[in-house]
């Protein structure tokens, strides 16, 4: 109880310094929360594309069953191929009809014979797509056309990488700033209370005893920053969610799973606790020399 009381006393005696430390922590965790939510959205986008056929190989007419089975076996032998799906001419027609059911004019004139049979290939690693595309584009005797959404996936991967790097850099920069802020403020507070620390040491207080209130103070800054920063970002994201999600439709870019937000919140509280503790520990250790 005494340590809590002393810590509260320290915070109350220099409220502006405490406020600066908390604001720095809030900014840090606000950025981290945003980054976590956007990262989750990006991985949802990638997962969405991963579940779609990523290469479609349209076959020439007149291939027999043996030839089709040979192609299917060859495709399945590529590494990281999750699924190879054969779409016959009849199946292609039913898909076409389903897609254009509201426009009978488009379906009336089309028969199965004019639609090509095809293979849809789903992979777990987009890198293999390029290989399949290259190999099958050259097989002009059996392949009519290979459709590979190369640019979409390529830019998606590039953007994901860029956003990840920017996010990590921002989080690191703001994290370092908040670390230094807490470290400096705790240092200032130790200096302000030098006399009290000296007296306590003369009365038999251990070095850890006199450091304890400062460590607790740092942890309070960390936890408060994590709590307020993440909740603030959750509120903003909740407000913007429907707009963002409609932009990415049919992908749910901003998740509404409470478990995700709870995980982010609890991880950030833990991180805040560690960040506040380490910053104040170094700050107190640097300035408590007696």
């Amino acid at each position: 109880m005494t340590i809590l009381k002393t810590t509260w006393h320290h915070i109350r005696r220099s409220p502006f310094q405490s406020m600066v430390a908390i604001i720095a922590m809030i900014a840090c965790f606000f950025a981290i929360s945003f980054y976590a939510i956007i990262s989750d959205g990006l991985s949802t986008v990638i997962k969405y594309f991963e579940t779609k056929p990523e290469v479609t190989i349209f076959l020439k007419d007149g291939l027999d069953t043996n030839a089709i089975q040979t192609i299917q076996k060859d495709l399945a032998s590529y590494p990281n191929v999750k699924e190879t799906k054969y779409i016959s001419k009849e199946k292609a027609l039913s898909i076409y009809k389903e897609q254009n059911k509201d426009n009978p004019m488009l379906t009336e004139m089309v028969t199965a014979s004019i639609l090509p049979a095809s293979f849809e290939i789903i992979v777990s690693d987009p890198k293999v797509l390029e290989q399949i595309y290259q190999n099958y584009s050259s097989k002009t005797n059996i392949v009519d056309e290979v459709i590979y959404q190369k640019d979409v996936i390529k830019s998606l991967l590039e953007w994901t990488e860029i956003i990840k790097r920017i996010g990590i850099s921002i989080a690191l920069i703001i994290g370092s700033i908040s670390f230094l802020t807490v470290f400096t403020i705790i240092g200032m507070k130790v200096t302000n209370r030098k006399e009290e620390i000296r007296i306590s040491r003369l009365l038999g207080a251990s070095a850890f005893y006199v450091k304890k209130p400062f460590l607790l103070e740092g942890m309070i800054y960390g936890v408060t920053g994590a709590l307020v920063g993440s909740l603030l970002s959750f509120i903003i994201i909740t407000i913007l969610r429907s707009k963002i999600n409609s932009f990415f439709d049919p992908i749910i870019f901003i998740t509404n799973k409470p478990s995700f937000y709870l995980l982010v919140l609890s991880s950030e509280i833990l991180l805040g606790l560690i960040l506040g503790f380490v910053a104040s520990w170094i700050g107190a250790r640097r300035y408590i020399k007696f």
Binding site: R13, E195, E196, S200, L203, G204, A207
Partner: protein
């Protein structure tokens, strides 16, 4: 607790505060250290508290050499020492009660007994109506008594009192001396007190160390005639 000084020297730059000082204090002794300002009285107390280290020689409490003692050992010893500093050394932004409470917390006094202990010592030094005031709101005498309350609260094995009557009126001075004498006799607490006041020394039949320019000039041992001392204190109080 036994305190030993073995050929201790303490220099502050070119000034020698203590020269070749040797002293053996038995557990439960009451010692006065007298001398003019700058004679080295406070230096002795600071060395016992390990607030400063000797330039040469050894200071020991029980079997622990303070100069080379581990931090934990020094902290442990300090917890057993009650100190009344000349300049009080109270924490300025804490009330009298909080100052005593912190001290009790440091020595890990049972939490459920802290409040009653505070009540007890505050009553002993007659500061009941000042317990919630800050040091800046107290007079010199009240500060001295608050420092005394803090020292007594921890039930120390040694009390170091640096000019504790310096800011007290005659009545309060004698009350404090009587209190220290009672603690020394009843609890067998070692008391080392520095003072200028020869009337106090004369009234008590206790060991007296006289210092001059950092050197021990006299070590007058206690003569075991307690009745005389008690009579002296009673007559002084009257």
């Amino acid at each position: 607790m036994r305190i030993k000084f073995d050929q201790v020297n303490k220099d502050y730059g070119s000034i020698s505060a203590l020269k070749d000082f040797t002293l053996d204090v038995e557990p439960g002794e009451f010692i006065f250290i007298v001398g003019h300002s700058g004679a080295g009285k406070s230096t002795i107390l600071k060395l016992i508290l390990n607030q400063i280290n000797p330039s040469s020689g050894e200071v020991m409490i029980d079997d622990i050499y303070l100069n080379n003692g581990k931090k934990e050992e020094i902290d442990h010893i300090r917890k057993k020492i009650g100190v009344i500093f000349q300049d009080y050394q109270l924490i300025t932004d804490k009330t009298v009660e909080e100052n005593i409470g912190i001290c009790l917390d440091i020595v890990e006094f049972p939490k459920d007994q802290i409040l009653s202990k505070i009540d007890d010592v505050i009553k002993k030094v007659d500061l009941q109506d000042r317990r919630n005031l800050f040091p800046a709101q107290l007079s010199g005498g009240e500060l001295q008594r608050a420092a005394l309350a803090r020292a007594l609260a921890v039930e120390p094995r040694i009390i170091l009192a640096d000019e504790p009557t310096g800011n007290l009126d005659m009545d309060n001075s004698w009350n404090l001396i009587k209190l220290l004498k009672d603690i020394n006799e009843n609890e067998k607490t070692t008391i080392i007190m520095t003072t200028h006041d020869m009337s106090i020394i004369d009234s008590l039949n206790k060991r007296v160390i006289k210092l001059e320019n950092g050197e021990m000039m006299e070590d007058k041992k206690e003569i075991k005639t307690e009745k005389k001392a008690k009579k002296n204190i009673s007559s002084k109080k009257e």
